[in-house]
């Protein structure tokens, strides 16, 4: 790994100052993606600013019909929290499907969505539930936040502080994991919101990263039934293709996972 200067700020403001003062800074959250990337020499920060112990990023509570999750909350904490289990059990279920136990102990929700890996799990929940992302500077709706593969609306030095999830009537997440990496080959999060609107978001499969499956949303808003998915065509031209699976295979997986998620949601 290339040399860098490690910083452990004590406040959000100090973190932003350290980042701004660096020729090439990176924020470190759980490090489950960044540290392997740095070991491979694919990221070579001059200054590494560790957000792991900032009190501003540590919270987990229900407030005014929203589940509010601090950015430094680990996957294990989301997976096992009684607050999450009570408010959005599908989110706890999703967190428990990320990586493996050791990775879940360190990886964080803020790190996951800031990185916006096209095969990460959390972006599907954030987008399907219509969550808002609060940062050190502003508040963004999920639709504006995610801007394609590994790309977000975050500006240089901006820090995700918390994610505010509206509590849905019901929700479910199903994914087909890559057997080696546990990343999603296709993951589908289906949420029925309080007003009866159904939202569907797909991760792992799309060429532009996480996306909303609007045709499925329309069909399922009319009738919430896995059979409604059957007639929908997922265009392979918009799907990822790699050594793990072709675009046509992923297009089929999206439908299969969507049907399973709807079935779970009705169960």
């Amino acid at each position: 790994m290339r040399e860098f200067v490690y910083h452990r700020p004590l406040s959000l403001a100090e973190a932003e100052r350290l980042f701004a003062a660096s020729a090439e800074g990176r924020y470190l959250s759980g490090g489950m993606t960044l540290i392997p990337t740095m070991k491979q020499g694919l990221a070579t920060p001059v200054d590494l600013v560790d957000l792991g112990r900032l009190p501003e990023l540590k919270m987990l509570l229900v407030e005014d019909g929203y589940l509010v999750v601090g950015a430094a909350t680990t996957h294990t904490e989301v997976q096992t929290s009684p607050i999450v289990a009570d408010a959005i059990p599908a989110l706890a279920d999703l967190a428990g499907q990320i990586g493996d136990p050791h990775v879940r102990h360190r990886g964080t929700i803020g790190g996951s969505i800031a990185n916006n890996d096209p095969a990460a799990d959390y972006p599907a929940a954030v987008l399907a539930l219509g969550a808002t992302i609060e940062t050190s500077r502003r508040t963004l709706p999920a639709e504006e936040f995610f801007q394609g593969m590994f790309s977000t609306a975050l500006e240089e030095g901006e820090i995700v502080t918390r994610i505010r999830f509206p509590i849905p009537e019901r929700a479910a997440y199903r994914k087909f994991s890559n057997p080696a990496s546990r990343y999603a080959m296709a993951g589908v999060f289906v949420a029925m919101l309080g007003d009866g609107e159904v939202r569907v978001a797909v991760t792992g499969a799309g060429q532009d990263g996480v996306f909303r499956a609007s045709e499925m949303e329309d069909a399922l808003s009319a009738e919430l039934n896995p059979a409604e998915i059957e007639a929908i065509v997922v265009d392979p031209a918009t799907m990822l293709s790699d050594l793990h699976g072709s675009a046509a295979y992923r297009a089929n997986l999206v439908k299969v996972m969507a049907k399973r998620a709807v079935a779970d949601l009705l169960a």
């Binding site: 790994m1 290339r2 040399e3 860098f4 200067v5 490690y6 452990r8 490090g31 489950m32 540290i35 392997p36 740095m38 070991k39 590494l48 560790d50 792991g52 294990t76 990586g99 493996d100 136990p101 050791h102 990775v103 102990h105 360190r106 080696a180 990496s181 546990r182």
Partner: protein, 166 residues
């Protein structure tokens, strides 16, 4: 270079590390605790699993500075004198190893697994929970048996009010 303090296997240690020093490098090269292995170095195999602040982590994917102030338990910290920890004893009893390279990580993952499930493990749970640890000899059957036996032994000693420390 950052100076860090951590408690390793119950003993306070100080070390001067580079920012880029991984926890596994500090343990092996800095502190001579070579029981923690590096298998894949890509965060997949789990040979390097140790317990930091009570939770199993992959020490090849953690900077030593991130563990500053924390308590770290490695495979060397489990036995008390010549008496093996119940998990080590179960791995020995059930021959839950072939080449033995993955064994320290498997055992440390088991410490965490039993703790999180309060020593109430069944085979399906054990197999699922082992997703973060790879055995290239594919010795999983006996590993699963050993974890089950260790879990049962720890549950029994808990019900008798005996404290088993990780």
């Amino acid at each position: 270079m950052p100076n860090i303090e951590l408690t390793v296997n119950g003993t306070p240690r100080r070390a001067e590390v580079e920012g880029r020093t991984l926890l596994v490098e500090l343990l092996r090269d800095g502190l001579g605790l070579t029981g923690t292995h590096v298998g894949c170095d890509t965060s997949q195999c789990g040979a390097c699993v140790v317990i930091v602040a009570g939770k199993a982590v992959k020490s090849c994917t953690l900077l030593a500075v991130q563990a500053d102030g924390e308590s770290v338990t490695t495979i060397e910290g489990l036995a008390s004198g010549d008496a093996l920890h119940p998990i080590q004893a179960a791995f020995h009893e059930h021959h839950a190893l072939q080449c033995g390279f993955c064994t320290p990580g498997m055992i440390m993952a088991t410490v965490d697994m039993i703790e999180r499930h309060d020593a109430r493990l069944d085979e399906a749970t054990i197999r699922h929970e082992l997703e973060g640890n790879l055995c290239r000899c594919t010795g999983y059957h006996n590993i699963v048996k050993a974890i089950q036996a260790a879990s049962d032994a720890i549950a029994a000693s808990k019900s008798q009010g005996v404290q088993v420390d990780a």
